[in-house]
């Protein structure tokens, strides 16, 4: 050794690490893995099915039909003057993406325990791959939505897509981040005590009713002015309202609410990554 102390190390494993170290470089090195995982999800989803990716269509289509029947006709909830199927489909498409990201991310540690227990890679890759693979599903559903828009346009329905449509990529990013952030927080909290996982499955359903998927925000504000804040301050509400406003020209959309949502989303995302990175270090011992 010649008595020379080596002080520079490529890697140090210690009991504690810096909370704000997001290890972006590490994640970047494994970017190929991210896309291979996305590919795996996609391929394994439709292997040995006949309809394949068509299944992505069927779920929102049927949901829309049922919502139109129950909420549109039976309960007669107004839809801001938009054709009911279009109104619901817009809500469902956006909501599904958010909820899929959240639900799948929230069980990331438990479902991947055997993989995580055997090999190291930045765990963040897996939730990121979930968000990206859900994007494929979202794209298919978006296509359905655009087709429906085309059909209604030909039939002469009244809706005006406008310039706020350009916000779409930003909205998508926020939805992904929000789902990812919340999902990571939940996943980190469920590694040792699984109670929360039971909450997630029905909690997400309840949350949908606090979001403007089956009703417009304007109706709640008019009918229940005292409780409307619950819906209004729900960050996803403003995303969906903005989405509808951009594509269909109807919705309660303000820049303030979008800014609030953006801020909330970033906070949740950062908290999510911090908690996630903290838990990933030892979760194999307790999962």
């Amino acid at each position: 050794m010649a008595g020379i102390e080596q002080e520079v190390w490529d890697l140090e494993i210690t009991a504690k690490n810096n909370l704000l170290d997001f290890r972006v470089k590490d994640v970047w090195h494994y970017r190929d893995l991210l896309f291979l995982l996305v590919r795996r999800d996609f391929v394994s989803f439709y292997k040995q099915t006949i309809l394949g990716p068509l299944w992505f269509f069927i779920q929102p289509l049927f949901t829309t039909v049922i919502y139109t029947f129950i909420f549109g006709n039976l309960a007669a909830i107004p839809t801001d003057g938009l054709p009911q199927p279009l109104f619901y489909l817009a809500g469902i498409t956006a909501w599904n993406y958010f909820s899929d990201c959240l639900v799948k991310t929230s069980s990331v540690f438990t479902t991947n325990a055997s993989l995580f227990g055997k090999v190291y890679f930045p765990r963040l890759i897996v939730p990121l791959s979930i968000v990206v693979s859900n994007l494929i599903r979202f794209a298919v559903q978006m296509l359905l939505f655009l087709i429906m828009m085309g059909i209604y346009f030909v039939k002469g329905a009244t809706f005006q897509p406008n310039l706020y449509l350009l916000l779409f990529p930003f909205l998508l990013l926020l939805m992904a981040m929000l789902g990812l952030g919340l999902g990571m927080i939940i996943s980190a909290m469920t590694t040792k005590y699984r109670d929360l996982t039971f909450l997630v499955t029905f909690g997400i359903q309840l949350m949908m009713y606090l979001t403007t998927v089956i009703y417009p925000l304007s109706v709640v504000e008019r009918k229940y002015p005292h409780y409307a804040w619950m819906v209004k301050y729900n960050p996803i509400t403003s995303l969906i309202e903005c989405f509808r406003y951009g594509f269909l020209g109807q919705g309660t959309f303000t820049f303030t609410s979008l800014m609030m949502t953006t801020l909330t989303t970033f906070v949740i995302m950062i908290v999510g990554v911090i908690i996630f990175n903290r838990v990933e270090r030892t979760f194999v011992d307790t999962v």
Partner: protein, 422 residues
């Protein structure tokens, strides 16, 4: 030489028992201590991890104050009994879990193989899985592409490469998985007992690959195995762990013999204290039983074994015999052979010693245990004891083949070969 891995006072604590409503109070207590800036109260009461001994605490140290350095290019075998902390150490080194205390510092890209075929998806084809598994192990896509043909060639499953791996035989699955891992480019390679897979031919190929990786390419390798022959032939140095603590750190051959001599504590039995307390009954008391290799330091296939039993006999004037029954690890009796102590109804009360010798090239490698039976007139049993003493016969490399041969015995057979023209 530069240091590749530096382990400093590494410790890891594990919580025993189930996680549920019971453990939450402890977690809250810990959390409260942390909030007040105090030390974790449960770290103090952790016990040394010995799975055989029932402890008082629910926290055990799987690793305790482990410190050692590994030089660049060294091939290190990690030896220890089950539960000694080998896997925990590998898990920490490969960053699957974090230590409770202490630190590990490393230089160089690290790859670990704790399991073959991690992340293989049954529905994907062999080709797709090679890419996925390679990426999980840390390879870039371009790197896998470059080595793809080599990987498929090494695995020998070329014909099935576009078939989903769920249709593979388990052997093919493992071959493909190991082939991917074997082509990892890294300066430090960590290997758990992944070699206990595949058929003999493939095992040999794997060992050969590890050997060439470490010798030819100058990589640092950490290798955990129970296969002492493999450790001896592949590794330069060895580390012996026991109950989470470092017992020995030195050259591989010395580490193996240290481990074996340490492990062979059961070779000896000697009763100390009053004769009446010795194992046995009113007829017989066992005082001493000793098993030794005949010529060498350890018991191997070619060493031969001597065993010596000393006992106290309380029955005078009978025909006394002592029978030795040797069983192998599969509980198959290898032999059942009696020594006649007295044949003329003339046994004496007092201490007898019986010594027997098993020739070399009789027992195959493996674990053995003795059953002792004492009889009168070779008909009535005076005393018997099962599983009295255990010992292990080590395998020996013969020629190019260092693998364990099957069979209960391992005789040297002289062959006579004649050839007659057809």
């Amino acid at each position: 030489m530069a240091t590749a891995i530096k382990v400093e006072q590494l410790s890891k604590i594990y919580q025993l028992g189930e996680i549920g409503t019971g453990s939450i109070s402890r977690d809250l207590e810990r959390f409260w201590a942390k909030v007040r800036g105090k030390e974790d109260p449960f770290l103090k009461i952790g016990e040394v991890n010995d799975r055989a001994v029932k402890g008082n605490s629910e926290m055990v140290w799987s690793l305790k104050d482990l410190s050692f350095d590994i030089e660049k290019g060294d091939v290190v075998g990690i030896i220890g009994r089950n539960g000694a902390g080998k896997s925990t150490l590998l898990k920490i080194l490969s960053r699957v879990t974090a230590p409770t205390l202490g630190a590990v510092k490393m230089n160089g890209r690290i790859a670990s193989l704790l399991e073959v075929g991690t992340g293989f998806h049954p529905d994907l084809t062999g080709r797709e899985n090679v890419y996925l598994n390679g990426a999980i192990l840390g390879m870039r896509k371009a790197e896998i592409k470059r080595k793809f043909d080599e990987i498929v060639d090494f695995s020998g499953v070329e014909r099935y490469i576009d078939t989903p791996v769920k249709r593979y035989s388990s052997g093919m699955y493992v071959r493909l998985a190991f082939a991917v891992a074997a082509h990892l480019e890294s300066e430090i390679l960590i290997i758990d007992e992944v070699l206990a897979v595949g058929d003999a031919e493939f095992q040999k190929k794997c060992l050969g690959k590890i050997g060439s990786v470490s010798k030819g390419e100058g990589r640092t390798v950490l290798f955990v195995s129970h296969n002492m022959a493999a450790i001896k032939s592949l590794c330069k140095s060895g580390i012996v762990l026991s109950n989470g603590q470092l017992l020995f750190n030195g050259r591989a051959l010395e580490a193996v013999s240290f481990y074996q001599s340490n492990n062979n504590a059961r070779l000896q039995f000697e009763h100390k204290g009053a004769q009446e307390d010795a194992p046995g009954n009113e007829n017989i008391r066992l005082l001493k039983f000793q098993i030794k290799p005949l010529h060498t330091a350890t018991i191997t296939i070619s060493s031969g074994v001597s065993f010596e039993l000393t006992f106290y006999n309380a029955k005078p004037n009978i025909n006394l015999d002592a029978t030795f029954e040797l069983r192998n690890g599969d509980e198959i009796p290898v032999f059942h052979h009696g020594a006649l102590i007295s044949t003329q109804n003339d046994s004496k009360t007092g201490i007898y010693s019986v010594r027997g010798i098993l020739p070399a090239h009789l027992l195959n490698a493996g674990l053995y245990s003795f059953k002792l039976i004492f009889g009168e007139n070779q008909r009535y049993m005076l005393f018997s004891i099962e599983n009295f003493i255990q010992f292990e016969v080590e395998n020996e490399a013969t020629g190019s083949n260092s693998f364990l041969r099957p069979g209960v015995i391992s005789p040297n057979i002289e062959y006579a070969i004649t050839y007659s023209q057809s």
